[in-house]
């Protein structure tokens, strides 16, 4: 596995009786964005702390770019670490912070200055570079927090819930940044409890609950694995003959079942998009007036619900 930037095997960590991380294994290749999706307290941060060596492991091992994480300080130079909390010196300016963190990773001189400008530009803070961080909005602080982890162009960037407490606009900007980084060949480990973020960003997702990795794969694989159908909800014009409509829908290839509730019919199908197109075509051919159509595909939320019987966010 040449391209593996991060390999974790059998990670385990207990705090007293509480097993916070229980036999967790995963690997991340270069250019891959790997998501750890799980509710509060699932063990995401603890897992990250084990990966970067902040916490001592009770079991398992970690290798970063082929080197054991315990091999010494140098191994950590491959990692860009963005903690869940804002980890900056707030009475210093953004540029001063970035310069400091760059130095801690061995940057210096004109290279350092150029990199500070570049990273500030990347996260859209170039104009506020000389302002103290305590004067920044929460969203700006979040973005600078990420910037500080990228100064040394790490091969593996680890982001722990980087969008928590951020307005939708800043959040979108952060997600765009991460997408760009993944596309540039960086390996990214991204934790979140937002299903939409995992779906949008991650090439592969590990779903965590109560310290265990309960499922892993691409979005398609995960959704396919639970065998749940797509749902098409069709609203009809007033006075439409619903029993005729039910007959038409049942005749469409791929439909697994139809239920009617008021002026609405819900169709279950394995491939919702194809069935939807055929259903609308056949209904209009039969002269039955369709007022509204909605396709509900199962998402990672449904996967989590299916696996644990609970919603991701309570």
């Amino acid at each position: 596995m040449d391209s593996a930037r991060c390999v974790a095997r059998g990670l385990r960590k207990a705090f007293g009786d509480l097993v916070a991380v229980d036999d967790v294994s995963f690997h991340i290749d270069s250019g891959e964005v790997y998501g750890l999706l799980g509710p509060n307290g699932a063990g995401k941060t603890t897992t990250i702390s084990l990966v970067v060596g902040l916490l001592a492991r009770d079991g398992g091992d970690v290798s970063i770019c082929g080197d054991d994480i315990d091999a010494g300080a140098k191994v950590r130079a491959h990692i860009g670490y963005v903690p869940q909390e804002i980890a900056l010196y707030t009475e210093l300016t953004a540029a001063e912070n970035l310069r400091f963190w760059g130095r801690m990773y061995g940057l210096g001189g004109s290279e350092l200055n150029a990199r500070v400008a570049e990273v500030l530009d990347l996260v859209g803070l170039a104009e506020r570079a000389g302002d103290r961080v305590q004067e920044y909005s929460g969203g700006m602080q979040r973005r600078l927090n990420i910037a500080a982890g990228m100064m040394h162009r790490p091969e593996l960037l680890i982001l722990d819930e980087p969008t928590v407490g951020v307005d939708p606009q800043s959040r979108n900007a952060i997600l765009t940044d991460v997408e760009r980084l993944g596309a540039s060949g960086m390996a990214v480990l991204y934790t979140t409890h937002y299903m939409e973020e995992a779906e949008r960003l991650c090439d592969r997702v590990g779903i965590m609950d109560s310290g265990r990795l309960i499922a892993e794969g691409t979005r398609r694989e995960l959704i396919g694995s639970i065998g749940e159908d797509d749902r098409i909800v069709i609203g009809f014009d007033h006075g439409t003959d619903l029993s005729a409509a039910t007959d038409v829908l049942n005749a469409v290839a791929g439909v697994r079942g139809v239920t009617v509730d008021g002026a609405e019919a819900t169709v279950l199908a394995s491939d919702g998009r194809v069935v939807l197109a055929h259903a609308v075509r056949d209904l209009s051919a039969a002269g039955l007036g369709v007022a509204a159509v909605e396709l509900q595909e199962p998402d990672l939320e449904s996967v989590f619900l299916h696996l644990t019987g609970r919603a991701l966010r309570d």
Partner: protein, 390 residues
């Protein structure tokens, strides 16, 4: 090394943005030393104001008065005023313009010269609040009278063994000067400002440096400590860099204090090289304690209160609050065992030694504060390191 310097510079930058630190650290000791200076007579050496009322005008009475004026002896600290009557002397003491008065009655010289058992009378008037003047005046008078008694005893002994009148005449008259010079000198060498400039300086140095312990705990609260721990830098560079920043601040603070008090109050700090060495080891002792306090504090609040408790106890036993000359030996031993006390002893010893001060003058304070600093810094840093990689 790059990480060490980066951490040190980063901490210095943050500290320099904190005005209160600058005020506390640089102005604090100066203000306190000034107040003490004002209270004890602004900056000048202690002046023992003593009055002599010479009603005798004899050779002997002039000799006695001359003891108080002697150059290189009591003359250095005694401010002598001569008056003509006992009432005038009494008025000076009542008005607090003199702390003590010696009244030499008429007939004093003749009585001294007689070498017979003619009573020799001297009156010392004292202001009970002026202990220094009182003890100086009484001391001089007692010595003088003791000298007369010795001469009379020698005379009587010689007479009883059958010496001739000529032989008796050749016995020396009492000379009050010889035995008096040195004893008073060592006790009253340092003025209050001389003493309290290093005493207060040390306390404020410890305050500024020990409050720096909060910056360690703070890195934990602001999560920058995790980020530092994940960086490829060694913990020793990170902790060392932070301590080095405090070290620089401590050095600056001491340098400002020494420069300012020697210019404004003429505090005689002593030889430059041993002084510089003592400043370095003293700041080191504060750094070591800071590392320890950082390691045992969980919150910044805790760091500051533990730090204050440590500083105030050290100051109490280290002699920061009062001059310890004349304190019981047990106390002096405890003082020497505290880093602030040992440092203070070192600084005052350098002042007393003046131009002849060498490293040997302060070898013990140097060794003690230096080793104390290194040992506590090592223990504190090792304990704190465990919080970075748990």
């Amino acid at each position: 090394m790059r990480a060490f310097l980066a951490v040190c510079a980063n901490d210095l930058r943050q500290r320099m943005r904190d005005r209160t630190i600058l005020l506390l650290g640089l102005l604090g000791p100066f203000v306190v030393a000034s107040v003490v200076g004002l209270a004890f007579g602004s900056g000048a050496k202690i002046n023992a104001a003593i009055v002599v009322a010479d009603l005798d005008h004899s050779e002997q009475s002039q000799q006695l008065a001359a003891v108080f004026r002697q150059e290189g002896g009591l003359g250095e600290i005694v401010d002598l005023k001569e008056v003509d009557t006992e009432d005038a002397a009494r008025d000076e003491v009542s008005a607090h313009s003199a702390g003590a008065a010696v009244v030499v009655p008429a007939g004093f010289g003749a009585a001294v010269a007689s070498r017979q058992n003619t009573p020799v009378t001297l009156t010392v008037l004292v202001d009970p609040a002026s202990t220094i003047e009182a003890s100086v005046a009484e001391g001089v008078v007692r010595r003088y009278l003791g000298g007369i008694a010795t001469v009379r005893l020698a005379y009587a002994t010689a007479a009883s063994t059958g010496a001739t009148a000529a032989e008796l005449e050749s016995l020396p008259p009492p000379d009050p000067r010889d035995p008096l010079e040195l004893e008073t000198e060592s006790v009253f060498q340092l003025s209050a400002v001389d003493y309290f400039a290093p005493a207060m300086g040390l306390m404020f140095l410890y305050f500024t440096v020990l409050f720096g312990a909060a910056t360690f705990v703070r890195e934990e609260r602001t999560h920058t400590l995790s980020r530092l721990a994940v960086s490829p830098s060694r913990s020793v560079d990170i902790i060392g860099g932070k301590l080095a920043a405090l070290f620089v601040i401590g050095l600056i603070e001491m340098a400002v204090l020494i420069a300012a008090t020697s210019i404004v109050f003429d505090v005689p700090w002593g030889g430059l090289l041993p002084l510089a060495a003592l400043v370095v080891t003293t700041v080191l002792s504060a750094i070591g304690l800071t590392a320890l306090v950082s390691a045992v504090s969980r919150t910044e609040e805790q760091a500051r209160s533990i730090g204050s408790a440590v500083i105030l106890s050290l100051a109490l036993f280290g002699g920061q609050f009062f001059m310890t000359a004349g304190a019981p030996q047990v106390f002096l031993d405890i003082q020497a065992a505290t880093p602030t006390g040992a440092a203070l002893i070192g600084f005052t010893d350098l002042m007393i030694a003046g131009g002849s001060a060498t490293f040997a003058t302060v070898w013990w304070p140097l060794l003690y504060t230096g080793l104390f600093g290194l040992a506590t810094a090592a223990i504190g840093a090792a304990l704190f390191e465990r919080r970075m990689h748990r």
